[in-house]
């Protein structure tokens, strides 16, 4: 290329742009295109097949008047907050324990990580079974002599989300622990020396020095965990299927149910749009902080 004339902007680093084509197409066609398509059809009364018969915001009005949807949103919020707090909390705690120069670190790590290799469907089934009052944990404890022992979280509307949580944490905390452990090991050894010289207790060092330093790790973990929570579907379907009543319904299940079982695409799309909107509300401030503020110099 001649060095004298400024190259056409688009052609500069052409190879890099060609290489980014799959990403650009994916984002534009699938994520942006699919989202816009979904939003457009959420204003129609499409049933089994998408049709452009406008009904204004009727689908949304129906959505927000629907007990099931409201229950699903409520459940997701509750489960999401609990899951986020416990996944990150337990993950961090385990990582701290694993970081104490323990013996058999490899063994412990494998034990904690292997559930992540299993699908949510499997996780849901196994835990449904272990928590089954008739033959699971409750029954076993009763047979050992504690007749009045009662542990049946999945069939009580007030506790079913905790039952899901037990399974969700089982599957996900190992991975979080690995992320956190990686973060802990990325921290400069000098920090520990400095803290010891200053006579700061270890737990204080963790809370006031180490955790702030691990901000990027926490953010990555948060993104991964949050993405998983919003998509939560397989686990619930396999473990409780939304029962008892609506006590463990999730928005993704509502979407799927109305799109395919009820054959009311418009309603499903309206629910999808609300979910996407809530994702945007969370993500836009994050993206702004992440990319908006800093520039390379």
């Amino acid at each position: 290329m001649s060095g004298q004339t400024r190259p056409v902007r688009v052609l500069r680093n052409l190879n890099a742009k060609i290489a980014a084509v799959p990403m650009i197409l994916t984002t534009l066609v699938v994520f942006v295109g699919g989202t816009i398509w979904t939003v457009i059809y959420s204003f129609t009364n499409s049933k089994l097949l998408p049709k452009l018969q406008w009904v204004g915001t009727a689908q949304y009005e129906r959505l927000w008047n629907n007990d099931l949807w409201n229950a699903a949103i409520h459940n997701l919020l509750f489960f999401g907050v609990m899951s986020m707090v416990f996944t990150i909390g337990i993950g961090f705690l385990l990582a701290v324990l694993m970081d104490q120069k323990i013996r058999f670190e490899d063994t412990f790590r494998t034990i904690m990580l292997y559930p992540f290799a299993l699908s949510f469907i499997v996780t849901g089934l196994v835990w449904q079974w272990i928590l089954d009052p008739g033959m699971g944990l409750q029954e076993v404890v009763r047979r050992m002599g504690w007749e009045s022992f009662s542990f049946d979280p999945l069939h009580d509307p007030d506790t079913v989300l905790y039952g899901l949580l037990i399974a969700g944490l089982w599957q996900g905390t190992g991975f979080t622990m690995c992320l956190m452990l990686a973060g802990l090991r990325g921290i400069d050894e000098d920090i520990w020396k400095a803290a010891r010289v200053d006579g700061i207790p270890r737990w204080k060092t963790y809370i006031f020095v180490v955790i702030p330093m691990m901000r990027p790790v926490f953010i990555t973990t948060l993104v991964l965990v949050a993405a998983g929570i919003i998509k939560l579907y397989d686990l619930v379907v396999a473990q409780t299927n939304g029962n008892p009543g609506n006590a463990s319904q999730m928005p993704a299940m509502y979407v799927y149910r109305y799109m395919f079982t009820a054959q009311n695409l418009g309603q499903g799309f309206a629910a999808s749009t609300m979910m996407l909107l809530s994702v945007l509300i969370v993500l836009i401030p994050w993206a702004y902080l992440e990319f908006g503020g800093k520039k390379r110099g």
Partner: protein, 359 residues
């Protein structure tokens, strides 16, 4: 003399931030230019622009009388050495040296010849089959220099090449780079924040601040006649002393506190009267004596001294302002003594306090 590098009206913006502002630079062939400045001054950015690693916003860059403004880095006839060495960790030293040549499709025997020559110059023959991880810092930087050397180019770009080395190695390699320059005699652009490197290596130093070259001149010129307060304060260690005052008597004298100093012999012509002037005095251009000389001395109170081996730096109080003076160790005055400082006005600089320019 032919131009080796010409930078014409170079501008670089990152978004709304202007990093380089209308920058011009002419470098003669074989010249050793050091870009010096505090961090964030744009010196490394300028080097990256010369290398073609950053796309500029406006202006032109010419290397060897060729407009290379938009050429690929590898087509500009430059070699570059980085602060972190940037050796490819998975390749041996030989692989590192030959990578660029292979990309340029240089014939095999030519590659071998050039590697042999470069490794002889840099004395790295025994290291050729090692991986970078097995080398010491100094060895790594030699290899990094070798990578520029084998490219057989006219211009070498150094981006703080010695900053990661300890003081002793740094001094050794500094001499080696100087030797290399005198042997190869090609153009070198060298970015550093270390003024010793700048003063020892450069034919000319470009002092930068805020994306602007403040002064481009030979080291002695910069040392003795700094163009403004910033350059004056930045160059020289220990730093230049500044005393607030005013030029009086039609510029024939400078009033500092209640002392008036005669400006006869000032290198810079007759300054006009300025109510706000700053007198710049380097510590080595002051002498301590116990008697006053009207128009040539300032009274001072000795506060403390810093022994520096052969010399000592004496800190004194001059009319409420701090002044340091370099004296031979054995001639340092006692603490608390009332002394007089003799000013060598021919080596002093006077700055306008508002424009900060030397007068």
């Amino acid at each position: 003399m032919t131009h080796s590098i010409q930078v014409k009206d170079l501008k670089l913006d990152f978004g709304s931030v202007s990093v380089l502002k209308n920058l011009n630079l002419d470098v003669a062939e074989g010249e050793f230019i050091v870009l010096l400045g505090p961090s964030g001054c744009g010196k490394s950015t300028l080097l990256n622009c010369l290398a073609g690693l950053l796309d500029i916003t406006d202006g032109e860059i010419w290397i060897k009388n060729k407009n290379v403004t938009w050429s690929e880095p590898s087509d500009r006839g430059i070699g570059m050495v980085f602060q972190s060495y940037a050796l490819y960790p998975q390749m041996t030293v030989r692989g590192n040296l030959s990578f660029g040549l292979k990309n340029a499709k240089v014939p095999k025997d030519e590659i071998d010849r050039r590697i042999a020559r470069a490794s002889e110059i840099l004395q790295i023959q025994p290291l050729l089959d090692r991986k970078p991880a097995a080398l010491s810092g100094g060895q790594r930087q030699r290899v990094a220099i070798g990578r520029a050397l084998v490219r057989d180019v006219d211009v070498f770009l150094f981006d703080e090449p010695l900053s990661n080395l300890d003081a002793k190695l740094r001094a050794e390699l500094r001499v080696e780079i100087k030797r290399l320059h005198s042997r190869l005699n090609n153009t070198m652009i060298y970015v550093t924040h270390d003024q010793i490197e700048a003063l020892t290596l450069a034919d000319r130093i470009a002092i930068m601040r805020g994306g602007i070259i403040q002064q481009l001149a030979a080291p002695q010129e910069i040392y003795n006649r700094p163009v403004n307060l910033f350059v004056a304060g930045f160059i020289g260690s220990p730093a230049m002393n500044f005393l607030k005052g005013a030029t009086v008597d039609n510029g024939r004298a400078i009033q500092v506190g209640d002392v008036k100093l005669d400006l006869a012999g000032y290198d810079g012509g007759q300054p006009t009267d300025r109510p706000q002037a700053i007198l710049g005095l380097r510590p080595e251009h002051l002498t301590i004596q116990d008697h006053a000389e009207a128009g040539h001395t300032i009274p001072a109170l000795v506060e403390l001294d810093e022994p520096m081996g052969a010399d000592a730096l004496v800190w004194l109080q001059v009319m409420g302002q701090q002044v340091s003076v370099r004296v031979p160790f054995e001639r340092r005055p006692v603490k608390g003594a009332q002394v007089h400082l003799k000013v060598d006005i021919s080596k002093a600089s006077i700055f306008d306090a508002t424009t900060e320019l030397r007068v």
